[in-house]
């Protein structure tokens, strides 16, 4: 039984490796060779505003554009600064015009051109009609910078963790070694100190989900710390990503909630007269928990990115006053930036841990057997 499983894992992992590589190669081959754009970053931000063409914006506005552009999603990927920009596939669906797939390079090197009546707004994160009067919605399923980062990161996580799992089969009965040690210590820590204590005896059912959430967030957070390929995107600092994670936790909680959980919401241990007040509060709490999960992760990671970029922006703000002040400020700015980067490494772990811990607590609340309650009632 176990032996066949091991064989399956091996075969699968092999085919997945080639499949994944093929998909990646497809991306690079199809969506044109990387456009080379070597421009002054100041000029770049002025151009990127697109819709309101002012000759020279104040430095503060330029920097906030730069920062927001960095933490937002984008339809092209500056793989290595602004030197190598990778155009990405745009997939849009519209009721009148149907499905359209084209390269984002059609929006021009700086993304301010109009193509097929559509243009990019929100620093390249969103596609809207160039003609503002059109009301029909554009369904945008493009492979954006965040999406591609997500796919690359997910592929790497799968390869990494499946390799580690295969090591157990290979080194059966031996002590763990290398990367296996790191993964194992995290897995055992989470299982013993978080899942067992927060969820209780039913923890086994939720272990795979919670472990996946932890390693997914942790890995994506770390990937987001790398300023160039394969990182550079702010995946876990995007509400869509954290929202989906929170939604999945919410679905797990709702599906697995036992009768005590629902009784607590719809029939609280309080006089019936108070129910009209308590039930909405409880329901609000149920909705609020995943929303808080979503916002906490998103806000922490985005804030970290913004702070680091802010520290580096100081150089240009002071440099805008007097060039020498800019030079004078740069060591401090660099120092703070490096310090924040280390903080972010801590935050990358901490936020993954907090998300997992709180998810485990929510699940624990939903599946907990309220024996003490019954004792009190007797």
């Amino acid at each position: 039984m176990r032996k066949t499983q091991i064989v399956d894992t091996k075969r699968f992992s092999g085919s997945f490796g080639t499949l994944g590589t093929a998909i990646l190669l497809l991306f690079f081959a199809f969506f044109t060779s990387a456009a080379i754009a070597s421009e002054h970053s100041g000029e770049e931000t002025v151009h990127k505003t697109g819709d309101h063409h002012t000759e020279k914006e104040p430095i503060g506005a330029q920097l906030s554009e730069m920062i927001l552009g960095h933490v937002s999603d984008n339809h092209s990927w500056d793989v290595f600064g602004h030197a190598v920009i990778l155009p990405l596939p745009v997939i849009v669906y519209n009721e009148t015009e149907g499905l359209k797939i084209f390269s984002s390079s059609n929006f021009g090197p700086h993304g301010h051109k109009t193509y097929e009546g559509m243009k990019l707004v929100d620093y390249g994160a969103k596609i809207v009609w160039a003609d503002g009067s059109r009301a029909d919605k554009i369904w945008n399923f493009s492979i954006t910078k965040n999406t591609l980062n997500l796919l690359i990161g997910s592929f790497l996580i799968c390869v990494l963790l499946i390799t580690v799992a295969r090591k157990y089969a290979k080194n059966r009965g031996k002590a763990p070694s290398g990367f296996q040690n790191l993964v194992e210590s995290l897995v055992i820590f989470l299982r013993d100190d978080i899942f067992k204590t927060s969820i209780g005896p039913k923890y086994r059912k939720f272990t795979p989900l919670l472990l996946t959430i932890f390693f997914f967030i942790f890995f994506m957070n770390l990937l987001g710390q790398i300023p160039f390929f394969p990182g550079g995107a702010n995946v876990t600092g995007n509400v869509a990503v954290t929202g989906v994670l929170a939604l999945i936790v919410f679905i797990y909680v709702t599906v697995n909630g036992n009768k005590h959980y629902w009784k607590h919401i719809f029939m609280p241990d309080a006089p019936i007269g108070l129910w009209p007040m308590l039930i909405p509060i409880e329901l609000f709490g149920v909705i609020l928990k995943p929303i808080v999960l979503m916002l906490r992760l998103f806000a922490n990671i985005t804030a970290g990115h913004i702070i680091i970029l802010g520290f580096f922006s100081l150089i240009f703000i002071f440099g805008g006053m007097q060039e020498w002040i800019g030079y004078a400020v740069s060591p401090a700015s660099l120092g703070f930036g490096i310090f924040m980067s280390f903080m972010e490494l801590l935050v990358a772990f901490l936020q993954a841990f907090v998300f997992t811990l709180l998810s485990a607590l929510y699940i624990g609340m939903a599946v907990e057997e309220h024996e003490h309650h019954e004792l009190e009632n007797h």
């Binding site: 999406t147 499946i162 799992a165 897995v187």
Partner: protein, 177 residues
């Protein structure tokens, strides 16, 4: 910097595309990891933990068994020592009794031998006395016979003959002795 604050809300505006791709990707990752990473990993971990627990239990058991065995050994040793003492004591007793037995039997045997020898000597003595008596009687008769014959002839000669006969007897007696 005002712009940063004003335009931040665009960050909390999730796009449907990313939601779609994220759902798809995450569920795939969840499925793959659950099947090919967590399941084997967790089962191996649990197996190993069980192994370790069992090994520890076994070690504990072995220790207890050892202690028990040691106690048993000591008891056995003590028993053996006691038995040895008893055997030695018995052997010593037996030796003593054998020696004393041998002594007594030797004594009685010796006594018997001596008794028999004494009896034999007595018997020999009685026989010798008997023989002597017979011989003395014979001599007496022959002397008496000669004396009687001689008396009939002469007195002096009779006296001389008795003397002579007596001398001869004593000489014969001493030669006999």
């Amino acid at each position: 910097m005002n712009r940063l604050l004003i335009e931040l809300p665009s960050l909390v505006n999730p796009s449907e595309g990313l939601i779609f791709w994220m759902t798809l990707t995450f569920l795939t990752v969840l499925f793959l990891l659950k099947k090919f990473a967590w399941k084997p990993m967790l089962s191996f971990l649990e197996e190993r933990e069980k192994n370790i627990e069992e090994s520890l239990q076994q070690a504990e058991n072995a220790k207890a068994e050892m202690a028990q065995l040691k106690g048993e050994n000591e008891a056995l040793l003590a028993e053996a020592r006691a038995e040895k003492d008893i055997i030695l004591k018995e052997a010593r007793k037996m030796k003593d009794s054998i020696i004393s037995d041998a002594k007594t039997s030797a004594d009685t045997e010796a006594k018997k031998l001596i008794d028999r020898a004494t009896q034999e000597i007595d018997k020999q003595k009685v026989a010798a006395i008997e023989e002597l008596k017979k011989e003395v009687a014979g001599y007496s008769v022959s002397i008496a016979e000669k004396l009687v014959r001689h008396e009939l002839k002469e007195t002096d000669a009779q006296k001389a003959l008795i003397d002579q006969q007596l001398k001869q007897m004593t000489a014969g007696n001493s030669a006999n002795a």
